[in-house]
């Protein structure tokens, strides 16, 4: 449905140029709920605005449903009006001088697709009913709460029956509880309409909760895209792994195809490779299991000293020391024992192994602290 090839975009700032998109490729299938996620400044909003036609890329090609809407050679440009999308903005962009009803009706009445007057009423009502705002339709939009404004923006976007719905951090201005509630509803609504959705957020939990597919962006590039579980379980680089949750990282050397030697001991891993090079092994805190002591030496089994533990309601997060390395674990039971000594185990299948670039380590340990 959306096909992006080698898209480049530079911004001119006071002290030179900044590349916001660096030769980016992306495919979004019809009916897919596609989430672009990344830290701020990664270029995700620029990408969305390029698709919407609010930003003109420098190079590359964008095709929507087989039709080229932007291309540098031969020069092609389709204006945002003619792209016929629905878009929900971060600020909602609810027109403050119009009522709820008029906000939804204006694009239908005066937009690119001229819709007969009688049909307009019916479609506005329908869209407002979908977001449960049909009773507030005559209210001035300035009198609405944040959540209601967000729903007006959503109703306005879906009322035009768009082929593609674009959403730019639509939930970032809502409070935490409302956000969880609304994200379920947005996904439900999108599926009900069968619309292709391109959704931008910086929140990895939001991304995983909503997406059919996620693309992680960093500094104008796509690091990886795929299903949420794939990105979480089988990231293709340490950055992706770090983005979706905390990881205990250790650098080491591969001594044989499936064994890695690190400072805290030997790891048996499922991800095989040639012995020799330096590697980075990592596993997520929730993969650390507390086992009863007295199993004797065995791969992936470590003696640890408990440093601290925090009760979060649904789980304990604890920090231990293995030799002089720090390690984090999550557990549903209290990690307690008389002499603060624990024995920990990690399944070989849960361990990620990446080739280690020399200067990546300090960067990673910095991000791990978050």
């Amino acid at each position: 449905m959306i096909s992006i090839r080698k898209l480049c975009k530079e911004f001119t700032v006071t002290d030179g140029k900044v590349a916001a998109l660096k030769s980016l490729d992306l495919e979004v299938a019809e009916g897919e709920f596609f989430v672009i996620v990344g830290a701020s400044g990664s270029g995700k909003t620029t990408l969305l605005r390029c698709v919407a036609g609010l930003e003109s890329p420098d190079k590359g090609e964008i095709r929507i449903a087989g039709k080229t809407v932007f291309c540098d050679a031969p020069p092609t440009w389709v204006s945002p009006q003619e792209r016929k999308f629905g878009m929900v903005f971060q600020s909602y962009a609810v027109w403050p001088h119009l009522t709820v009803f008029e906000n939804v009706a204006l694009p239908l009445r005066e937009g690119a697709q001229k819709i007969p007057r009688r049909e307009v009423n019916q479609r506005v009502q329908e869209a407002l009913r979908m977001v449960q705002l049909d009773e507030q339709k005559d209210r001035s939009s300035t009198l609405l709460s944040g959540g209601q404004q967000q729903r007006v923006a959503l109703a306005r976007a879906i009322a035009v029956n768009p082929r593609v719905l674009l959403m730019d951090e639509p939930l970032s201005n809502l409070d935490a509880r409302l956000r969880e509630e609304v994200r379920g509803k947005i996904r439900e609504l999108a599926k009900q309409l069968g619309a292709t959705v391109l959704y931008v957020t910086h929140d990895q939990v939001e991304a995983m909760a909503m997406a059919d597919k996620i693309a992680l962006m960093s500094f104008g590039r796509l690091l990886q895209y795929g299903e949420p579980m794939e990105l979480y379980r089988r990231p293709n680089c340490p950055e992706v792994a770090d983005f979706f949750g905390s990881v205990n990282w250790f650098s080491g050397t591969r001594v044989s195809a499936k064994v890695v030697e690190t400072k805290i001991g030997r790891f048996e891993v499922d991800m095989g490779g040639d012995p020799g090079p330096k590697v980075l092994v990592g596993f997520r805190p929730e993969c650390v299991q507390i086992v009863e002591r007295g199993h004797g030496p065995r791969p992936n089994l470590f003696d640890a000293v408990l440093q601290s533990s925090t009760f979060l309601g649904d789980q304990f997060v604890y920090s231990v020391r293995v030799d002089d390395q720090s390690l984090m674990g999550k557990s549903r039971i209290l990690p307690i024992c008389g002499d603060r000594c624990l024995q920990l185990y990690v399944e070989p299948a849960e361990i990620m192994v990446f080739p280690q670039a020399e200067r990546q380590d300090p960067l990673l340990s910095a991000t791990r602290q978050e």
Partner: protein, 579 residues
Amino acid sequence: MEAVLRMPRLIATRLRASPMLLMLAALPMFVILGLVVALVWISFQTGIVGTPNATYTLANYAEIFGDPFVLKVFWNTIIFTLSTTFTALAIGLPISRLTERTRLPGKGLVYTIMTLGLLIPGIYTAMGWTFIAHVRIGFLNRWLMDVFSLDQGPINIATPVGMGFVQGLNLTALAFILTAQMFRAMNPSLEEAAKIHGLSFIGTLRRVTLPLAFPAILAAMIYMLTIGIATFDVPAIIGLGNRIYMLSTYVYLKANPPDSGLPQHGVTAALGTVMIFLALLLTWWYGQMLRQGHRYEVVTGKGYRPALIDLGGWSVVAWFFIALYFLATKLIPLLLIAYAAFTPYLAPPSYEMLSKMSLAGFYNLNWDLFWRGLYNTVLLVLTVPLITLLLSFSISWLIVRSRSRLRYLLEFGAFLPHALPEVIMAIGALLVALFVLPKIIPLYGSVWLIAIVYVISRIAFATRALNSSLLQIHRELEEAAYTAGLSPMRTSWRILVPLLRPTLMSVWIWSAILVYRELTVAVFLISQENITLPAVIWSYWFSGATNQAAAVTLLMTAVLTPLILIFWWFGRRQLMPES
């Protein structure tokens, strides 16, 4: 080649602007540029200027700087400008200090008086003060002569200092606004700290307040110098008849010599060029001062209010001062104009004169001329503000919304009319209409020539007002309309115009009032056909028919009053620093 092919699309998409919008924004830029270039070009010509037969020479400049009379004019202008600035600040600064930092009762009324001060035309004050203090006919002089049995009036308003005083009264409201803004920006805790650490009131004023305020006061001074140097209306009303010339009136004399002399357009252009130079210099200096002033702006917490000084019994004195200002600049001049309109000749009010009051002055008016003036003025009031808004809106939108570097050029272009006084634009327009355009578009003598200059000179103010309002409208409100399928035109009409309505209204009515009362440009560009109402007043006045001039002024006020009331309704808050 490829780059060339990409250009139009790039400009259009980068700016996301239709070619029409670009044209609307560029049009005034070209007009301004055209006026300035023509002026400078003609200033280097003698002979049949503006044609290929003209000789290029520096003779015009030699004539200006070699003529002792011109040097005298320069000197007059300097004295006049200094007197203007001093008067305006001497009255405006204390009043702004009183309203911003004391518990003066009835502050709302002060703002009202000051807004009126902005709106009432300068020629009213000038005419009124001629009636008060003209050396021969001034009522105050006549009275003083009677009381002290003098041979000659002791006060002469027709001097550079006197005219500067009158123009200073006109600019007091402006000085008030500029300095009130300064007091708003100045952190009062700096003064409080001085007080707490033992400095006396005078000590605090001398060591803290004034040094802190100095850059801003200096900036206000330079701003008023810029206006003063090119003021035409007051020197024309008071000075021309008494042969006391300023730069602006001298330029007028060169372009419209008395007694069927030949206009010296080369000299006019050279004087205009010198004035452009002075104006740009002062504007640059003003920018420098403003920047320095901002250095001292210490950020205060939101909702932080300075401790206001209790005036006690002194508030009576303060109000006496403000009332005196109001009487001297507005009420007495207006009353005297009304009085003069109903009397057959000029004489101080007396019982005898009251019995001679009649409507004769109105019957003797050239009504044909009056109706023509009113017709042209109404035409201008109806068209100029609308065109100004359309052009300024295009310019502002491009300045605020586009990311192209061209926007800096636009910003500068839109600022230029602010730096260039109306006199210069009037001369430029006169020369262009006479020598550059006549074969292409015969604009000379047409009311549209006046309209063009009015539009251009109002653009600086309008774009600045629109820029700041447009900045407050979130970009996404527009983008939401684009993605929803609304064309740029419809988006402007349905989204931006409604949201900008308060600003658009106040800019419209403010431009309308300025157009209605404008004298300078009109006087330079009038002919029999395109005369405006203020120019009708002026021509009566200039020909010595003082009472008829007063009658027309009174009629003009009758139309102005409702305009001012409309302005009250919409625009006051936009212009006044009222909290």
